[in-house]
């Protein structure tokens, strides 16, 4: 596997170089102007900041993990993200984003395989480098975006490692076929990228056709799908169909308003490709309503039905490799390990600089309860301090009890 990835690395880089050249040639022949504020700037010399941009942040996060109250494991993570943008031409953008992380503390100390467990890359080329893998110290660099985009008023073509976000619902997104993410990994808000080609054709009245192909080194994990989006009666709608790993996926989503509340949802049906007779399709239905009350109190209530999930009590071990386990991210087909899940999210500014929020997930049937409170403080213009908590309760068949609590304290500086 790793040699196959090595094999892909060189052609991957070559493709990027060749595309840069082609797009440049293509772009310069097109004098399509799109941004009205820069209508006449093709001939003008642009300042460097217009052509190149570097943004990012540095975060330091302390983690305190409590399996029970007798012992607290401590970990520290220094996390730097760099987002490069290159705008060689009006119609061409190149994006490169990487994350550098340095882990120390008990969590790294106790687990000799920790380095290996974070050094993952599901893409065509392995763009994750474990720089240090010592007991108590793990450092790694990962590239999670590396794409080139060509666009004009009607087209948008993006090739490379990118985020293809097809979700419309506020929380559980079964239409989001190209992404896997970890529900509890709040610290990775950008989410992993997908190596793909995406072509979008924009039509009048906010309609669009969106087609994406994400090849894989493994024949059984290709994803290729098309989506038609349109806007009708103040609702955004989308219809999608495609191959998703070993399934055929059909889906629909909507985002609109009920009176003054937001009303969004998604439905996706997965059916095994090689067995049309088999009645083993999976369906995922999610919906949410959100509303802002007086005093800036934001409330979102959501529900998910996932036919793949279980609705009886289960062991905590069954949680591993699912949404609430850290090792394997959940997929569009398997957003939760439970069949019925409900969500309530409230947030409110406590002062002009402090924001408090609480996300609660409860799964009836399995009696799973997950709570995530947070407090965010805007310390200065580009500084933010935040405290997050996560706690899981589960009915293991004989009792409803706590299965671990974590507290995270994070300082972030953006530039």
């Amino acid at each position: 596997m790793s040699s196959a990835r090595g094999f892909w690395a060189l052609p991957g880089a070559l493709v990027i170089v060749i595309l840069t050249l082609t797009f440049n040639a293509f772009g310069s022949s097109s004098n399509e102007s799109f941004s009205p504020s820069t209508k006449s700037d093709l001939s003008e010399k642009k300042p460097l900041s217009e052509v190149m941009q570097l943004r990012g942040y540095v975060k330091n996060m302390q983690t305190f993990q409590m399996a029970d109250l007798n012992y607290v494991a401590h970990g520290n993570l220094v996390h730097n993200r760099l987002n490069f943008r290159l705008y060689p031409l009006k119609t061409t953008t190149v994006g490169l984003e990487l994350r550098n992380r340095l882990f120390t503390g008990d969590l790294v100390n106790f687990d000799p395989a920790f380095g290996e467990s974070v050094d993952t890359d599901n893409g065509l080329t392995h763009m994750s480098w474990l720089l240090v893998d010592e007991p108590g110290l793990v450092a790694l660099t990962q590239i999670d975006r590396a794409w080139m985009r060509w666009n004009n008023a009607d087209w948008d073509i993006t090739l490379g490692r990118q985020r293809i976000n097809w979700g419309l619902n506020a929380f559980w997104n079964s239409n989001d076929l190209f992404n896997t993410f970890n529900l509890v990994d709040f610290d990775y808000e950008e989410r992993p990228g997908t190596d793909a080609l995406r072509v979008q054709r924009f039509l009048p009245s906010m309609a669009a056709i969106d087609v994406a192909i994400a090849p894989s080194l493994n024949d059984s994990t290709w994803i290729a799908a098309g989506m038609y989006k349109f806007n009708k009666r103040t609702y955004d709608f989308q219809l999608l169909a495609g191959w998703w790993n070993q399934d055929v996926a059909l889906g629909a989503g909507w985002a609109g308003n009920l009176k003054t509340a937001g009303f969004k949802g998604e439905v996706t049906y997965f059916h095994p490709q090689d067995n049309w007779q088999e009645e083993s399709g999976a369906i995922s239905i999610s919906t949410s309503i959100d509303y802002v009350f007086k005093g800036n109190l934001y409330v979102m209530a959501g529900a998910l039905y996932s036919s793949e999930g279980t609705d009886s009590t289960f062991n905590i071990n069954a949680l591993a490799n699912t949404a609430l386990g850290a090792s394997e991210p959940p997929s569009a087909k398997n957003l939760m390990p439970t069949r019925y899940s409900t969500l309530l999210s409230v947030s409110r500014p406590l002062s002009a600089l402090i924001n408090g929020s609480l996300v609660g997930i409860y799964a009836p049937g399995t009696n799973l309860l997950f709570l995530m409170p947070s407090l965010t403080v805007a310390v200065a213009n580009n500084w933010e301090f935040a405290v997050f908590g996560q706690t899981t309760f589960l009915d293991n068949g004989s009792e409803f009890r706590n299965y671990g609590t974590s507290v995270f304290a994070r300082l972030k500086w953006g530039f």
Binding site: F34, S35, P36, S37, R55, Y57, N151, A153, D156, R163, N165, G167, L168, A170, E189, E190, R191, Q200, F202, P204, M206, A208, N231, T234, D236, A255, G256, N257, K259, T260, A261, G262, F263, K264, D290, Y291, V292, F293, K294, N296, Y298, P349, A352, L353, A378, N381, N382, E384, G414, F415
Partner: protein, 248 residues
């Protein structure tokens, strides 16, 4: 009987004329900020609190009442956050998580990014011309300028967050010099003071607006227009979700 009808009729007619006038004044005042066709604007938004101050910069494009696009250009951590309005719909783009979110109307009353402005103040989902009925409720003088005092009452189904607005419009140049925003229980929430009146792209207008929340001492938000360009020819396709994601 005929006379009474005539008197009544002329009274209603007169009423109608006055209402029309008030609406016309508001329309002219609004046109100052939006241009006859369209406007491009660069401005800074300073949030002032007793112990600290924050500064943001934004760019905005608008075409008529119905189409607008706005992007945050500073500070760094918020750069690229964009808002799109098309008719009665509003979307928000969060570049850090690469996600566009359709905003429910109830979110329009929410504070805009920690300032004293509401989303509606900036995104302008509601139109002070179309979504209100207007009535001249007197004359007034502000900074030596003679003004009309006009009360704006929201129409029943309008996507409006205020109970009523009292606007003070300069009788010479149709510049809105002051406005008072009242909530649905008729409590005065914000006073908006306009100043730095000068000519921008051929239009005499106020280039500084102070939003002062009445109940919060030492607190205000100051919007200052740095650049404004009127009546550029923007295509409707400029005001779309895909453009919101690209705009810088």
């Amino acid at each position: 009987m005929k006379t009474t009808t005539l008197i009544l009729l002329s009274f209603f007619l007169f009423q109608g004329l006055v209402a029309q006038d008030a609406k016309e004044i508001i329309r002219k005042a609004e046109e100052k900020m939006r241009g006859k066709e369209s406007a491009y604007m660069e401005m800074t938004i300073n949030t002032v609190r007793p112990k600290w101050e924050r500064s943001m910069s934004i760019k905005s494009w608008s075409k008529g009442d119905d189409l607008s696009l706005m992007v945050v250009t500073a500070p760094a951590k918020d750069q690229g956050i964009a808002f799109l309005k098309r008719h009665k719909e509003v979307w928000n783009w969060m570049p850090s998580i690469e996600r566009s979110i359709k905003m429910p109307p109830s979110m329009m009353m929410q504070s805009w990014m920690g300032t004293d402005l509401t989303n509606d103040d900036l995104v302008r989902e509601s139109s002070s011309v179309k979504d209100y009925t207007h009535q001249i409720s007197g004359d007034s003088t502000i900074n030596g300028r003679k003004c009309w005092k006009i009360t704006l009452t929201p129409k029943p189904d309008a996507p409006v967050v205020w109970g009523r607005i009292v606007a003070f419009i300069d009788q010479e140049n149709y510049v809105q010099l002051k406005a008072e925003q009242y909530d649905e229980d008729d409590f005065l929430i914000n006073i908006i003071n306009a100043s730095d009146i000068k000519e921008m792209d051929g239009v005499i207008m106020a280039t500084t607006m102070e939003f002062v929340p009445v109940e919060k001492r030492g607190q205000k938000t100051i919007m200052s227009i740095k650049t404004i360009e009127f009546n550029k020819d923007y295509e409707d396709s400029f005001f779309t979700v895909q453009q919101m994601k690209r705009i810088r």
